[in-house]
C-alpha cells in the first residue's frame, strides 16, 4: 500500500523537495537532462506499465503520449488536470498537498517526451491549500534549477504554470479546461479535432490527470514491468481510492489494482456503527451504483468493476449503509448535474433540469405514476447525444439507481414518503 503517489506520506515534510529527492525524486528528470533517456524509451516503459488515465476515462497513458506529433512545428503544451470535482473524489487534492513534486516531475517528463516546453497545472478553484502547496513546490523546483529555459545547460526547456479554476465542475472536462485556461467560459469543445492536434491556444496538447502524472516518475524509476506486476492484467500498478460515506475511517488509500472491495472496506475501518452495507458507487457519482451483494464480490480494477456493472472512474468509492434513502441520494446527484451543466448543448441543458425536477417532485411527495418511466426515458434521451461526458454522467446514475432500487422509488411515489426513513 502507498507505494507510488503516497510513498512519502508518513515522512516529515513529505511535500518538500528535500524529502522528495531523498526518496529518489527527480532522478528520472536529471537523467533526461543529462541525455540518458529517450522519449521512445519512456513511452515504451509507460506502455509496458499498463498505466491508464486516472481521471476517469482510463485511456492508456503511454498510448496517449505517443499520439502527440512531437516532431511537428509549433508550440506544444502539457496540461495537468487537477480540477478534481467529481463527487466522492479527493485523491488529487492529497497528491498536490503531500507529493507536489511528483506532479511537477511527471509533467516535466511529459513535456520532454512530447516536446512541449510549457506546462499548465489547472487546479480546482476551491483547492486553496493545495494550490499554495503546489506553488511553493514549483518555486522550490525553479530555485533548484530543475525547471526553466536550457535547464542545467541541457538545452531542455520546461516552464510550468499553475492556473486556478473558478469552481465549475465542467472545467474538469479536458477541453472545457483548455477553454478556461484560455480565459474563456468553460465549455467543452466538440471533437474531432482532438487536443493532440488542436489543443490549448490551438496547439498540440496532452492533458493528463494529476495522479497519472504523479505516477510517471516512479514507473520510469522502477520500470514499467514492476508497475504492471503490482496490479492485475489490463490494470497496471496501484491506484488511489477515495473511500467516503458510511465507513469508520473515510480516507484515500493507494492500493494495488485488483484489491478486493471487501479488503478496501476493511482498510476504511468497515461500516460505521456496525451498519449493513446497502450500496456502493465505485468510481464517483457519474458511475452506476451497485448493490452490496455485487460490490462485496468485486475486485477494484478496471475489468473487475466493469464486470460488476459499473466503472472504476476516478476511484471514488461512496459507501452507503442501510439507512440511506436512494431516492434522496439520486435527487441530490441530479441536482448536482443540473447545477453544473454548462448549458451549451441541448440534451444536457434541458435534460438535467428535467431529471432533477421530476425527482424533486417525488421527494416532495408529489410523484406521479409513470414518473419512473419518464425518468428512464429522459436519461435515455440524454445518453450519448451530448458534446461531452457530463450528459452521460448525469444519465447513468438515474438508470442504475432505478434498476437496482426501483422498489424504493415506487414506494416513494405511491406513499409520498421514503421506504427507508419512514
Amino acid at each position: 500500500m502507498n507505494e507510488v503517489c503516497f510513498k512519502n506520506l508518513t515522512k516529515d515534510q513529505c511535500y518538500s523537495l528535500k524529502t522528495y529527492e531523498a526518496s529518489g525524486g527527480y532522478s528520472v528528470w536529471r537523467k533526461i537532462l543529462k541525455g540518458q533517456l529517450t522519449p521512445e524509451h519512456i513511452i515504451d516503459e509507460l506502455k509496458v506499465s499498463g498505466l491508464r488515465g486516472r481521471g476517469g476515462a482510463g485511456f492508456p497513458t503511454g498510448l496517449k503520449w505517443s499520439f502527440m506529433p512531437r516532431h511537428s512545428d509549433g508550440q506544444k503544451y502539457v496540461v495537468c488536470n487537477s480540477d478534481e470535482g467529481e463527487p466522492g473524489t479527493c485523491k488529487d487534492r492529497d497528491i498536490l498537498r503531500f507529493n507536489p513534486h511528483a506532479v511537477i516531475e511527471g509533467m516535466a517528463i511529459g513535456g520532454f517526451v512530447m516536446n512541449a516546453s510549457v506546462g499548465y497545472n489547472y487546479i480546482r478553484g476551491e483547492f486553496m491549500a493545495p494550490f499554495y502547496r503546489f506553488e511553493d513546490a514549483l518555486k522550490e523546483a525553479y530555485e533548484a534549477g530543475l525547471l526553466g529555459q536550457n535547464i542545467n545547460n541541457s538545452s531542455v526547456n520546461f516552464d510550468l504554470y499553475t492556473h486556478l479554476g473558478a469552481g465549475a465542475y465542467i472545467c474538469g472536462e479536458e477541453t472545457a479546461l483548455l477553454e478556461s485556461i484560455e480565459g474563456k467560459k468553460g465549455q467543452p469543445r466538440f471533437k474531432p479535432p482532438f487536443p493532440a492536434n488542436v489543443g490549448l491556444f490551438g496547439k498540440s496538447t496532452t492533458i493528463n490527470n494529476t495522479e497519472s502524472f504523479a505516477s510517471v516518475p516512479e514507473i520510469i524509476n522502477r520500470g514499467g514491468q514492476w508497475f504492471a506486476d503490482v496490479g492485475v492484467e489490463n490494470s497496471g500498478g496501484c491506484k488511489l481510492f477515495s473511500v467516503s460515506g458510511h465507513v469508520k475511517n473515510p480516507a484515500n488509500f493507494e492500493v494495488p489494482m485488483g484489491t478486493p472491495f471487501k479488503d478496501l472496506l476493511k482498510m476504511a475501518g468497515g461500516m460505521r456503527d456496525g451498519a449493513q452495507l446497502k450500496a456502493v458507487i465505485p468510481g464517483g457519482s457519474s458511475t452506476p451504483v451497485l448493490t452490496a451483494e455485487v460490490a462485496m464480490s468485486m475486485t477494484m480494477d478496471y475489468d473487475g468493476i466493469e464486470k460488476a456493472g459499473s466503472m472504476l472512474g476516478a476511484g471514488s468509492v461512496i459507501i452507503m449503509d442501510e439507512s440511506t434513502c436512494m431516492v434522496a441520494v439520486l435527487t441530490r446527484l441530479a441536482h448536482f448535474y443540473y447545477d453544473e451543466s454548462c448549458g451549451q448543448c441541448t440534451p444536457c441543458r434541458e435534460g438535467t433540469g428535467w431529471l432533477y425536477r421530476v425527482l424533486k417532485r417525488i421527494i416532495d411527495g408529489n410523484g406521479k405514476q409513470g414518473d419512473i418511466d419518464l425518468l428512464l426515458g429522459v436519461q435515455d434521451k440524454i445518453m450519448g447525444n451530448t458534446i461531452c461526458a457530463l450528459g452521460d454522467a448525469a444519465a447513468m446514475p438515474v438508470e442504475s439507481f432505478l434498476r437496482n432500487f426501483r422498489k424504493e422509488f415506487e414506494y416513494y411515489i405511491k406513499h409520498g414518503k421514503s421506504m427507508v426513513k419512514g
Binding site: 467560459k185 451543466s341 454548462c342 448549458g343 438535467t352 428535467w354
Partner: protein, 753 residues
Amino acid sequence: MADIEMEIDGKVVSAKVGEMLIKVTDREGVSVPRFCYHKKLSVAASCRMCLVDVEGAPKPQPACSTPVAQGMKVHTQNDKAKASQKAVMEFLLINHPLDCPICDQGGECELQDVAVEYGSDVSHFSEGKRIVSDSDIGALIQTDMTRCIHCTRCVRFGLEIAGMMEMGGTGRGEHLKIEPFLREGIQSELSGNMIDVCPVGALTSKPFRYELRSWQMNSIPSIARHDLVGSNLFVQTYKGKVKRIASADNDWINETWISDRDRFSYEGLTHKNRLLKPQIKVQGQWKQVSWKVALDYAVKGLNSHVLKHKKANQLGGLVSSTATMEELYLLKKILTEVGCDNIDHRLNIKNLDNIITLDSNIKLDALEKIDYALIVGANIRLEQPMINHRLRKATKKGADIDVLNVMEFDFNYPLNAENITAPNKIASTLAGVLKSIMTNNVQELPNYLATIEVDEVANNIAVKLLNSSSSVIILGEHIINNEDASAIANLATIIAQSTNSKTLNLSITANTIAANLVGFVPQNSGMDVNTMLASEMRGFILLDIYPQHDFHHLETVVKAFTPDDTFVISLNSFKDDIITGYSDVILPIASVYETSGTQFNVNNDMQSYTAAVKAPDEVKPAWKILKVMADLLELPGFHYADSTQVLAEISHQPHTKHTHDGHINFTNKHNGIGVIWQNSPYSIDAVLRHSSTLQKTKIGQMNSACMNQASAEILGLSNNDKYLGVPVVITDTVADDCVFINTNHAINIQEQA
C-alpha cells in the same frame, strides 16, 4: 483534397476528405435537421439536432462536425438517428414557450418547421417552463429571449462576422442566457443579420413587430441601392407596401449578409414627407395638379424659358447618383435631343479640374484573399460595410491593413498601422511611398519626386507593398475635395502598377458608375455643375436632388436655381422647403423598390431589378415621367414600353470610357485647415434620411465636427461650440490642420462658412 466515396442512406456519393458531413448531405439534397449550424458561421455542434448514425461509431454523430472519410456509411433516417433527433427536438421544446400564435417568427420559424417532422403531439414535460427576462438591445432588433434555443448563431455572428462580440452566453446550464454584455445594446452596422440567422422568434425585426405573417407577403428579389456593393436582397411586400427586407444569397457580392442601412431604409418610403402629387408654382403659389397639367406646365415652361429662345446652352441637367441607369440615360437623351450639353452628376466636388480617376480592378470576393491593403481616406466600415467585411475576412487569414486617414476610426479588425495625416500631407506621403518603391526597383525618378522626402510611414507602406503578393490600394470618399485629389488618385494608380497591386475606388457612391457609363457629364463644350451654378441659366431639370445634402455649398446652389427667369423642374420623392423655394414644377418620383432599373456596383456588376411595389398615390417612376416629357417635347425615339427596352438601347450604345492623363501635380504647400464634410452613414440619401428607426441608432445620430486642440485654437472653438452648424468635438484622434465633419443634419444656409 482528394475525392472519396461514401454512402448516405444507402446511396453512394462522392465527397472531399475532411469535409463536414452536413455539407455533403446538403449538396445531395438529404434533409438533416439543424439549428446551430449555419453555412457562413463556425461550427458549434451544440444544438445536437443534426445527429445521425455513422456505422462503426457507438454514439450518434453530429453531421455538422463529423468529417467524412472514405467508405463511411451514414444513416440519417434509421431508428438510431431518428431517436436521437426526436430526443433533441423534445428537449428543445420543453422550455420553449410554444407561443407561435403571438410570435413574429411564426410561419418562418426553423423550430416550427423541424417540429412538424420531429416533434411529438404530446409533451411528457409537465413542469413549469423557463422564463427569461429581456433587455432592450436597441431600435432595430426586438428580443424575446424566452424563445431562445441557445443555438448561439447570433453570438457567433457577432464574433465572426460583425467583428464585435455584442451578444454572449452568460450563466450556465438551464440558466444560460444569450444577451448583450453592454447596456448600450447592439451597435454593429451589420446587426440586422442577427434577425436572419436567429432560427426562432428570439430576435426579430423591431420596426416590423406585429405587422404581418410571412406568408401574407410577397418576396421580390431586388438590389440594395445605398452603397457600392449592390447587395442582393428580398423585398417583402403586402398590399403594395414594403414591409420588410431580408438578405438574399450571392457569394460574389454580399454572401448572405446585408448592412443595416440596406435592411431598414425601406421605412423612409412611407414617411409623411413623401411627395404624392405633382404640383406647379403659379404666381408664387403651389397648386396640386394632375399629371397632365403638371407635365404640360413643365414642357411649356421649358419651351418658353429656354427652347423658344434657342437657348438650350442655358439649360442644365443635374442628377443625384441615386438615380437608376435608365433614368440617367433618358434624361441625358432628352437634353441631348434639345441641344443641351450641360449635364452633370458630380454635385459635391469643389474643383472639377481636380478629380479622382481611379479604376476598381479587384473583385469583391477577391478582396478577402489579399495579403495587404492600404486604405486612404475612408471610414470604410461605416461607408461601405460589406466591403469592410471582406477586408475583415482577409485580416482573419493574416492580411495586414494600413490606413492613411485624417482621423482615427473604429475598425473591427486590427490594423497594421493607423497613420493619421493632415489632408494636405496625404499626397506627399503617397509620393514618398512611390519614391521608396522606385528607389527600391532602381527606377529613374520623375521630377515631381525629386524633392519628396520619404518618411518612415511612407517607407513602411512601400515595404509592405513590395513584399506583398496580392495587395490593394483603396481610395475613399474623404479625398474627393482634397486639394491634391487628382494627384492622390494618379499616385495610387502608379504605385499599384509598380507593385502589381490592385486598386479600389470607393470615393464614389451608389450608382455613380452607371452615371459615368452613360456619360452623364458635360458633353462637347457643355458646362459642368460648378460652372452652371455660377452662370446665368434659363432652366434646370433636377433629378432626385436635395441641395442641403448633395452639394458642398448650399448658398451658391440656391442662388443659381432661384431667379424668376430660371425655370426649374424638380423630380423628387420627398418634400423639402429648399426645393419648393426654387422649383417651378415638382414631379413626385418613385423611390427605391418602387421602380424598375439597373444598378452598377464597384465591380461593374450590372444588376437590374423590377419594381417590388407600385409607387404610392400619384407617384410615378422617373423613367416613365421622362419618357412622357420627351413625347410632349415631341422628341423622336422615346417609344419604350418598359424600362428593359431602355436598358436594351443603352447596351447598344458605345460606353464612355474615361481615360486618365496620369499627370501628377501637387504643391505640398497648401496652408490652412482642410475641412472634410461628410453626410453620416445613414444620411447619405433621401430615403435613408427619412428612415426613422435607422435615425434612432448611434450611427444615425452621428453629428460632430471633430478637430484636435491645435486646430480648435486656430479656429477659436471649444467643445460644444458649433462649426458650420455642427457641434464641435475636440479630440486628439484627428490630424493637424483638419476638421472632420460627419453629420446627419442638412447644411444650414445661414451658418455656412
